[in-house]
Amino acid sequence: MSPQVAAAFAVLPRYLGWHVALSASALLLGLLIGLPLAVGAARAPRLRWVSLTLASLVQTVPSLALLALFYPLLLAISAALAPLHLKVPALGFLPSLLALTLYSILPILRNTVAGLRGLDPAVVEAADGLGMTRTQKLLRVEAPLAAPVAMAGVRTAAVWTIGAATLSTPVGQTSLGDYIFSGLQTENWVFVLFGCAASAVLAIATDQLLGLIEVGLERRDLRRVGIGAAALVIGAAVALLPLLGGAGPKDRYVVGAKNFSEQFILAELISDRLHAGGASVETKQGLGSVVAFRALQSNDVDAYVDYSGTLWANVLHRTDIPPRAVLLAELTRELKAKYGVTVLGSLGFENAYALAMKADQAQALGVKSLDDLSGHAGQLTLGADLEFLSRPEWVGLQKAYGLQFRGQRSFSPTFMYRAIEGGQADVISAFSSDGRIAADRLVTLSDPKSAIPAYDAVVLISPKRVGDQRLISALKPLIGAIPVERMREANLTVDRDSDKKTPAEAARALAAAIR
């Protein structure tokens, strides 16, 4: 077995366990809401119209967006409940559960309503004429007769839920999607395929067992219904077993990571150090840039690495660009005062936004700085990562140098490097710590007008862990310990095409190198 496949299997019990826990809870909740709603909707035309319209409307929201929308919603609810000392987690299981539940309602609702309304009117008249009460009619006649059609809806809901649950990774919920998201970022296609295959197998197996129950209901064959239900319950129980072990959430540290290789490596590095200190650790990977800070601020994440310039612009909403040291000092003070977040210190390297071009093209055009670039931008295409074009830094750059490109395209960071290699972009929004800049023979353009702020990689600690000596003593030795060359090296081992390392392997190599 290749090391990558072995690595994938090693985390399978945890990923699968959470995936099953999440989709099964969402489906059960969907049934609890959908079935009674369907019974009401089958009887009342107005409720039917409203509920089916709303459920269809939910379905038109892309699932990723639906998951993402629950995060600010829960933040707002959490803020509203704060005076009551009630904490609503805005990240992880809850937003994923709510979004997936909403998603599962439509097929359950629609099919159950169709099943109930499609009953032979003579059968319903007989039930009334014989003297059944409303409840008796529902339980003895309508429910058993509508069950096969309703069950088909439950099958659809199950398949959708299991598929969409892979999208809960960006809101911080571990699932089989962790394979896909981290694999996509690090170009670990074995992981991506493994994640897809695992969720597909899970969906197909669930669908087949529900299908067995459906056929059993149709043919009034209780044996099939029993076998199907038992297999589902046993399967779910076995999948959930790995989640029972390990320390409780109380003394478990949660290390966050945004969605690119450097973040994965640093999260592994931090986790390893906490592990070595005997702590139990969990990582939440693939968080969106702003989501990561909000998660830390609300104690859903205990520690992660962010960049001073990013926090300056996106969290403090500052547009001025003070010198590097001043920015860091003021950031540290402001984050503490406004959010209770501790900036433990800089790791020692910068991961700044920098515009980069192919070295030969830059030489041919005579471009060394952004000043030089502004004259040629009209003939060039900019390839940016997904955030860059909406970030204040880009606005600042445009203002300072008057950059007007021929075209602008957005890529995920991995594909951005592919784009410049393949000629779909001439200039990219690179990161200064990226190992691919040197490896792909790119040059970064200097910023003589200091339009881009400093991006020191800083370790952040949540308000809850502010006095946590175990955490602080594990992380303190990292401060000032990682020079940019070391970080580039580590990033490259994960990002390159051949002899790829996993972020965990890269973190171990980095730890050895900086010791």
């Binding site: 032979d120 009117p121 003579a122 059968v123 319903v124 007989a126 004429g129 014989l130 003297g131 003895r140």
Partner: protein, 258 residues
């Protein structure tokens, strides 16, 4: 409530918007009588029938069964004491024939053994073999299905039977056989029966009394024999003319052949 007594219908009205389906109908039906309600579609006969077990609520008027007002009763409880058979039959496809017949006794909470014995007894009563109990209703012919429908309606020993075109969907031979068989049961069990039918010939051959309706009102109310002798109302006359003419032609044919 003692449903052993007859039925009193007093000034019953049912309107749907501007249309009057039943227009101040009063009828007194003594215990043991077999009454056929006939008339064209839309004459109000089915609506009137369904007000008796409150599948349709009348707007005005009083219905008494055994001297007691049906509007005072809880509808499900009322219906369990009144047999109801209709053209759609409505056997429950997810239940066996035996389970279908056992529905009302089980709603009434009869002991299991008593229900089982009653199912066998009823199958015998409607001339179906005992092993039919274990079969699905979909495996039966239309005539057999309606035999089960009648057995199901009789399961909890009601004294009153409401039948809405009960044999309307069956072929003529089965229809005649079932009609005769039911009339026999009516007599043996001492039932009071109200049967809606648009088939005057069936009404004439089965009922003790025929009530002709039109536009929600009673046009005629008499014994079959009296009606067959003629009626002053042209609508009633038109309704009974066809079976009478047919009967005469058949008789002439038989006599001519002899």
């Amino acid at each position: 409530m003692d449903t052993g007594a007859g039925v009193e219908i007093d000034g019953v009205v049912k309107t749907y918007g501007s249309a009057t389906a039943v227009d101040h109908v009063s009828l007194s039906i003594p215990q043991g009588q077999f009454v056929a309600l006939v008339g064209a579609s839309g004459s109000g006969k089915t609506t009137l029938l369904k007000t008796l077990n409150r599948l349709i609520e009348p707007d005005a008027g009083v219905i008494r069964i055994g001297g007691e007002d049906v509007t005072a009763a809880d509808p499900p409880t009322l219906r369990r004491r009144i047999g109801y058979v209709f053209q759609g039959i409505g056997l429950f496809p997810h239940l066996t024939v035996g389970e279908n017949i056992a529905v009302v006794p089980s709603l009434l909470g009869w002991p299991k053994a008593e229900i089982a014995a009653r199912v066998i007894e009823l199958l015998e009563l409607v001339d179906l073999p005992g092993e039919t109990a274990a079969r699905r209703s979909s495996a039966l012919s239309g005539g057999q299905q309606q035999r089960v429908g009648v057995a199901r309606a009789l399961a909890a020993r009601p004294k009153i039977m409401l039948m809405d075109e009960p044999f309307g969907a069956l072929d003529p031979v089965t229809r005649d056989t079932l009609g005769q068989a039911y009339r026999k049961l009516h007599d043996e069990l001492g039932l009071t029966t109200l049967m809606v039918t648009h088939d005057v010939q069936e009404a004439v051959l089965l009922a003790d009394r025929i009530v002709v309706m039109k536009g929600g009102q009673v046009l005629a109310d008499d014994t079959p024999r009296a009606l067959m002798r003629g009626h002053p109302d042209p609508d009633v006359e038109a309704l009974i003319a066809t079976p009478r003419r047919q009967a005469e032609r058949v008789r002439a044919l038989m006599e001519g052949a002899a």
